[in-house]
């Protein structure tokens, strides 16, 4: 009898699991729970990093904060899930997080076979190498015979194998799941080379015991377009993420900043009025209120503000805009218009 009960219990559990797996729109879901669950890194200064009080900041974090500002009119309505490079996709696929904003490279496999969608590129990057100055190496092509430290489950570990093989150089990859282990092992001399996205090199470099003993080599060996990711099959949510990013770029292009956005409400420029929600129904079309973009800029700022605050020349990372400048300023950041 006990066994029978058990079996019935099992049966119901299974069918209930089937019922809850039924699909709910992510936006409705997020609105009803009152916050966005945002997948971030376990600590990458400038991109997603928590301070001692547990406050998250960074370029990737700003994507989630901007989404919260657009949805709730309150950029603080975000909860963060720190994920290793290895855990991130499963967390998104299984619905543990609503959006993954974690220096993640847009690749064909991830975009197709994994059932994911990349909603844009918030940082154009490429893979680089860092070595000890004492090695006397000035180019990546001199790295034959090197031991290379990097993260598992990344595009990085694939690129590095391709690169060394293509150039007929011997190499050995020591790969760890957690970045702190990678940096630690490199710092203690287990590897001659540390490789990851160049932005990551600038960020992780700050964790080394003696920053000035290391140099970043000039070669960039790959394309790493990093951007926020969502699950396939929820176009409304996908649109929201994509247009949140586009709004930040458009604001920069139109000169709308967190400081002047209130004045912009009285602007004569129709494009600006559409942006801040005085004209048109762009917010409603996204399932939001029409002041969505106003809130993003008011609370988080435009792309330039976010960039300068988190990774720009005045921060410890000291990264120049480069490829990430607007298309009108020599870069390739280009957002379709809001109209």
């Amino acid at each position: 009898m006990k066994k029978t009960l058990l079996a019935i219990g099992l049966g119901t559990a299974v069918s209930m699991a089937a019922a809850t797996a039924a699909y709910a729109g992510t936006l409705d879901d997020v609105k009803s729970k009152g916050h966005i669950q945002c997948g971030v890194s376990q600590g990458l200064p400038g991109f997603s990093n928590a301070d001692a009080q547990g406050n998250w900041t960074g370029l990737d974090v700003d994507v989630c904060r901007a989404m919260a500002a657009a949805i709730f009119g309150d950029a603080t309505k975000v909860k963060y899930t720190p994920l290793s490079s290895k855990e991130r996709f499963t967390a998104l696929q299984s619905g543990e997080i609503d959006v993954l904003s974690r220096n993640t490279t847009w690749t064909a496999t991830r975009d197709t076979a994994l059932g994911l969608n990349f909603a844009g590129v918030n940082y154009y990057d490429g893979q680089g190498f860092m070595v000890r100055k004492s090695l006397g190496v000035t180019s990546a092509l001199q790295l034959g015979g090197a031991a290379v430290c990097t993260n598992t489950g990344t595009t990085t570990e694939l690129n590095v194998a391709d690169y060394f093989r293509a150039n007929n150089m011997k190499f050995e990859v020591v790969a760890f799941e957690k970045s702190d282990e990678v940096v630690g092992a490199y710092d203690k001399g287990r590897c001659d080379v540390y490789t990851t996205d160049q932005s990551g090199l600038f960020a992780q470099r700050l964790k080394l015991s003696n920053v000035n003993d290391h140099i970043v080599l000039p070669e960039i060996i790959s394309k790493e377009p990093l951007g926020p990711v969502v699950r396939q099959g929820d176009d409304q949510w996908f649109n929201l993420v994509r247009w949140t990013h586009n709004a930040m770029l458009n604001a920069e292009e139109m000169g709308i900043t967190s400081a002047n956005v209130d004045e912009m409400l009285k602007s004569k420029n129709p494009a600006v009025l559409r942006f801040v929600g005085k004209e048109g129904s762009f917010g409603e079309n996204l399932g939001l209120k029409n002041d969505w973009a106003y809130n993003i800029i008011k609370q988080v700022g435009n792309y330039s503000e976010s960039f300068e605050r988190n990774v720009g020349p005045k921060t410890p990372l000291g990264i120049a805009r480069g490829l990430n400048a607007l298309w009108s300023k020599g870069g390739i950041q280009y957002a379709p218009p809001i109209r």
């Binding site: 009898m1 066994k3 029978t4 079996a7 019935i8 099992l10 049966g11 299974v14 069918s15 699991a17 089937a18 797996a21 699909y23 490079s85 290895k86 996709f89 499963t90 696929q93 496999t109 991830r110 197709t112 076979a113 994994l114 059932g115 004492s134 090695l135 006397g136 190496v137 001199q142 790295l143 034959g144 015979g145 090197a146 031991a147 598992t152 489950g153 570990e157 694939l158 194998a161 391709d162 093989r165 011997k170 190499f171 050995e172 990859v173 020591v174 790969a175 760890f176 799941e177 957690k178 282990e181 630690g184 092992a185 203690k188 001399g189 287990r190 001659d192 699950r231 396939q232 099959g233």
Partner: protein, 401 residues
């Protein structure tokens, strides 16, 4: 089920017949489980489809594209995901086998030491057991790794580790034996020697049982196992060489250090994992051994003492053989624990089956498939262990009777 209800009774109606009821309820149970499994599988497949996630095991034959730091089988740029998984599986076996061997030796020594008459020895053993048993294993693994990296000289230096080899941050380098054509004869000789040694010890046991005469079967066996293969090796013209690691101390910085592929290297990731697993598991084995020895009736020791046997002989010939019966079942489960615990390897980048499988999972995105494969591996380990234990218990209870 009582005998009364088993008696045929015409008064009980069909539905109240306990036999019928039990059959029906079992059928329902089987049906429900089958339905549950069916629902689980179809539901999973349906969900994967809905989420647009590719499924099936076809991906195993695609190129892996990533490298693994340690591999016992050829693993080059055309290696597939399946091969990467196999590399991981073999790495798990490797650390498990070496770990079990060392943990057993250390565990027995410490277990016996805890019962030592010497206060210092038993105290030291107790402190070791109590401290290491209570520190989480993951922490121990990471600490060992940090210590190894910190204490080892960098890539361009080395220190010698007595009797084993040379060590630096890239690992512990030692010589390796390279067999040439014709070594197979020596291989066969090793096999024959092992069988011979076993026969000798059986014969010596029988003779001692019958006549009471002793024979140094251990030394004889050792002599055979070492001597015969050596003899054959030289007789067939020494088909093999010993290759020592090669240290380069000049030239460009990057080329200095031990030459990859020359000699044999225990990478620091392996060493740290091994140390941690051995030191941790040995504490449990020590307790099992201690309990096993204490379980042997004190009268046995006294009786053996009365016969005038020395302490060491009593331990080896009287106490341990009897203690083994108590020791072996829990010992087997410690072996299983060690093997399962080795999956913590990924924390320090040792590519075991969990680590390599995890990378495959991540790069291919085939989570369900990879989890199934990894589960099958660990389930097999568990089942094999329990089959062994059942067999052993059955054998032992027969002897007791």
């Amino acid at each position: 089920m009582t005998t009364i209800s088993d008696e045929p009774s015409s008064k009980v109606s069909f539905w109240y017949d306990p036999k019928v009821r039990s059959i029906i309820s079992q059928l329902i149970l089987v049906g429900l489980i089958a339905w549950g499994l069916y629902a689980l599988v179809t539901n999973t497949i349906h969900n994967l489809e809905r989420l647009n996630i590719a499924s099936g095991f076809k991906f195993l034959s695609t190129e892996a594209g990533f490298t693994l730091i340690q591999s016992w089988i050829p693993y080059d740029k055309s290696a597939t995901y399946l091969r990467a998984f196999m590399v991981g599986l073999i790495n798990t076996f490797y650390v498990a086998i070496v770990g079990i061997f060392l943990a057993t030796i250390l565990g027995f020594l410490v277990g016996i030491a805890r019962l030592s008459k010497s206060w210092i020895i038993s105290r030291v053993a107790t402190v070791y057991v109590e401290v290491l048993r209570n520190i989480p294993l993951l922490l121990q693994i990471i600490i060992w790794y940090k210590i190894l990296l910190l204490l080892s000289p960098d890539k361009r230096g080395s220190i010698s580790i007595l009797g084993i080899g040379e060590m630096n941050v890239t690992g512990l380098w030692t010589s390796k034996f390279i067999a040439h054509d014709g070594f197979w004869v020596t291989g066969i000789a090793i096999g024959i020697a092992l069988v011979l040694a076993w026969k000798v010890s059986r014969w010596a046991h029988k003779r001692q049982d019958a006549t009471g005469q002793q024979f140094p079967s251990f030394w004889a066996g050792l002599g055979i196992v070492i001597g015969l293969p050596l003899l054959v090796f030289f007789a067939t013209g020494s088909p093999g060489v010993i290759e020592s690691p090669e240290f380069v101390s000049e030239g460009p910085m990057l080329r200095r250090g031990f030459k990859t592929g020359v000699g044999f290297v225990f990478i620091p990731e392996f060493l740290a994992l091994l140390f941690a697993l051995v030191l941790y598991t040995a504490t449990f084995i020590a307790e099992i051994v201690r309990a096993g020895i204490l379980a042997v009736d004190h009268g046995q020791t006294e009786a053996a003492g009365a016969l005038g046997l020395r302490r060491g002989t009593i331990l080896r010939q009287v106490v341990i053989p009897q203690a083994m019966r108590v020791i072996i079942p829990p010992l087997t489960s410690q072996y299983l624990n060690l093997t399962k615990n080795s999956s913590l390897a990924m924390a320090i980048g040792y590519p075991d089956v969990m680590g390599a499988g995890g990378i495959v999972l991540n790069q291919s995105g085939q989570a369900v498939e990879m989890i199934i494969m990894i589960m099958v591996v660990y389930l097999t380990f568990s089942l094999v262990t329990s089959v062994f234990m059942n067999w052993y218990n059955a054998k032992m209870s027969m002897v007791e009777r």
